[in-house]
């Protein structure tokens, strides 16, 4: 139930509001309201209720893991996660979605929601890597190989962020790539390498990490030209500011850093 969609979150929020408004005594069984919490809650504190986190799709694995940790640390909290493209999430926050925390895959998308968030912090970054089928049939060794018209290459379409990043690294390296297909998103780009349809693809380090042994990963120095910074911030109108604060603390803690690193993110 924890990962119910927004409808679930709205229902829960309404239910909580009704509970609070009716003041029918704060000791509802599983969802103590604010006044009762101070004396009823466990070892930790005033962090209770619902926490709604909007996060970039690339953060799904990491945030799902951290949500489990968070609910163990704060038994009174129900975490609802919503993953989508950062730009779409920023639009929803601007449109007044009842959100506590926003985490984006780029500084520019966080900037879109600047008026609705408090002090964004960089907590991780993602760079491009080369992935080839596990047996590397094209014997690809570095970015320069992408100029070879005889081999087959896939990169993201320039309309999506990973494609914009790819364009940047090729420009920085002074390479005109002999691309065979511009895939519609990073997952499709990765899958072309996994299935062996192309000799190499450019994807995010986290996607390469997630693909495990199905691909061979090659890093290249020019990737530093296109680093996507992940930013996180509490919403200015967060319905549950204390839980938002606690979530930020977890993500920025050593524990959060360990989960991020394991998933292939770089730390600031």
């Amino acid at each position: 139930m924890r990962r119910g969609r927004r409808a679930g979150a709205v229902l829960a929020a309404v239910a909580t509001a009704v509970l609070l408004a009716s003041c029918s005594g704060g000791t509802a069984d599983d969802e103590p309201s604010e006044p009762a919490a101070s004396d009823a809650a466990g070892p930790t504190d005033d962090v209770t209720g619902d926490l709604t986190v909007f996060a970039a799709a690339s953060l799904q694995g990491v945030f799902e893991e951290l949500a489990t940790t968070f609910e163990e640390q704060h038994p009174g909290v129900t975490v609802t996660l919503n993953f989508a493209a950062s730009s779409a999430l920023a639009e929803q926050v601007n449109a007044g979605a009842p959100v506590d925390v926003l985490a984006t895959a780029s500084a520019s998308t966080m900037e879109q929601a600047a008026a609705e968030v408090v002090d964004p912090v960089e907590f991780a970054s993602n760079t491009l890597v080369i992935v080839t089928p596990s047996d590397n049939p094209g014997a690809v060794t570095g970015l320069a190989d992408f100029a070879d018209p005889d081999r087959t290459f896939a990169v993201c379409a320039v309309e999506v962020p990973c494609g914009a990043a790819a364009e940047k690294v090729f420009a920085a390296a002074g390479i005109t790539p002999a691309v065979d297909t511009f895939a519609e998103n990073v997952t499709a780009t990765l899958n072309l390498a996994v299935s062996g349809e192309v000799d190499a693809s450019l994807v995010y380090a986290t996607d390469a990490q997630g693909a495990g042994d199905t691909v061979t990963t090659i890093t290249f120095p020019e990737s530093s030209e296109a680093v996507n910074d992940n930013l996180i911030a509490a919403a200015a109108q967060a319905p549950n500011a204390s839980a938002a604060r606690a979530w930020l603390d977890l993500v920025l803690s050593d524990e959060g850093a360990a989960v991020l690193t394991a998933a292939g993110f770089d730390l600031p």
């Binding site: 087959t152 297909t181 499709a188 349809e197």
Partner: protein, 278 residues
């Protein structure tokens, strides 16, 4: 679909009076349901920037590619589909029902899955593609041929089912007479059967072309996306959506307009011409 039009009866039934409400109301509702979303698209369209968006080179390139590949896919479908329809309707195939279901499958399959199926067969590591690559050095994905293959895969069933339906509705006596007069089966097909089902062939080809023109999922999965080679209009529209929904709407309007134009032209000229020669 236009079935056999042979025994058209004179209008002895009273044509006067209103259409019954039981038919009129749901019929109009269906029309509104189909037309309103398109109307909304027109209302939302960035008319002032339309020319500017559409006149750019990449759009013309995608449109030209779409028209070329959809036309080729329709021709391929005609050459292969009419014989298949004949086999289904006249060939006394063992397990004809199963074969007919098989032909229908690409229509209900999500097109993306169709693309994956084509990759499984013709991809570089596909069942057949592996050998094509090893023996002849031919790789099909990411080429314009792959676009035509993907479009043919999803649109061929429309033609086959249309012609198959017409053949089965046909009065067999004409063919029987032709046979008793000594015509071979091929002559009978060419001189008797084909002219009688020509309207259905035309209608099937139109549906086939329209489906090929709008094809997205199988194309991007199997053929990929490269300007001028594999980026058809639907793919250009999908990618434009990532950056500018307004541009995507503008491109959609162009595609809708072209499709409508082609369908109207084909219906009014070619189809009726074909129909009247029978």
């Amino acid at each position: 679909m236009t079935a056999a039009q042979g025994g058209r009866r004179p209008g002895q039934r009273a044509r006067s009076g209103r259409p019954p409400l039981v038919l009129l109301v749901p019929g109009l509702a269906a029309l509104i349901f189909l037309a309103l979303p398109l109307l909304a698209l027109l209302v939302r369209a960035p008319w002032s920037d339309l020319v500017e968006i559409v006149a750019t080179g990449p759009v013309a390139q995608a449109l030209w590619l779409s028209l070329r590949t959809a036309t080729t896919a329709t021709l391929v479908s005609l050459v292969l589909g009419v014989p298949l329809a004949w086999l289904l309707a006249r060939g006394r195939l063992p397990g004809g029902g199963v074969v007919r279901a098989l032909v229908t499958l690409p229509m209900v399959l999500p097109p993306v899955v169709g693309g994956v199926a084509l990759l499984s067969l013709l991809g570089r590591r596909g069942l057949l593609g592996e050998h094509l690559d090893a023996w002849f050095g031919i790789t099909i994905p990411f080429t314009t041929s792959a676009v035509v293959l993907a479009q043919t895969f999803v649109s061929l069933p429309f033609l086959v089912l249309s012609v198959d339906g017409a053949l089965r509705g046909l009065d067999r006596r004409y063919e029987d007479v032709s046979a008793t007069l000594g015509a071979s089966r091929w002559t009978t097909f060419r001189r008797v059967t084909l002219p009688m089902v020509a309207p259905a062939v035309g209608a099937g080809a139109v549906l086939c072309f329209a489906r090929a023109l709008g094809e997205f999922g199988a194309t991007i999965t199997f053929a990929g996306n490269f300007p001028g080679t594999t980026r058809t209009m639907p793919i250009a529209i999908y990618l434009a959506m990532e950056q500018s929904p307004q541009a995507a709407i503008a491109l959609s309007i162009v595609l809708v307009a072209i499709s409508a134009l082609v369908l109207i032209l084909l219906r009014s000229r070619w189809l009726t011409a074909l129909g009247s020669t029978t």
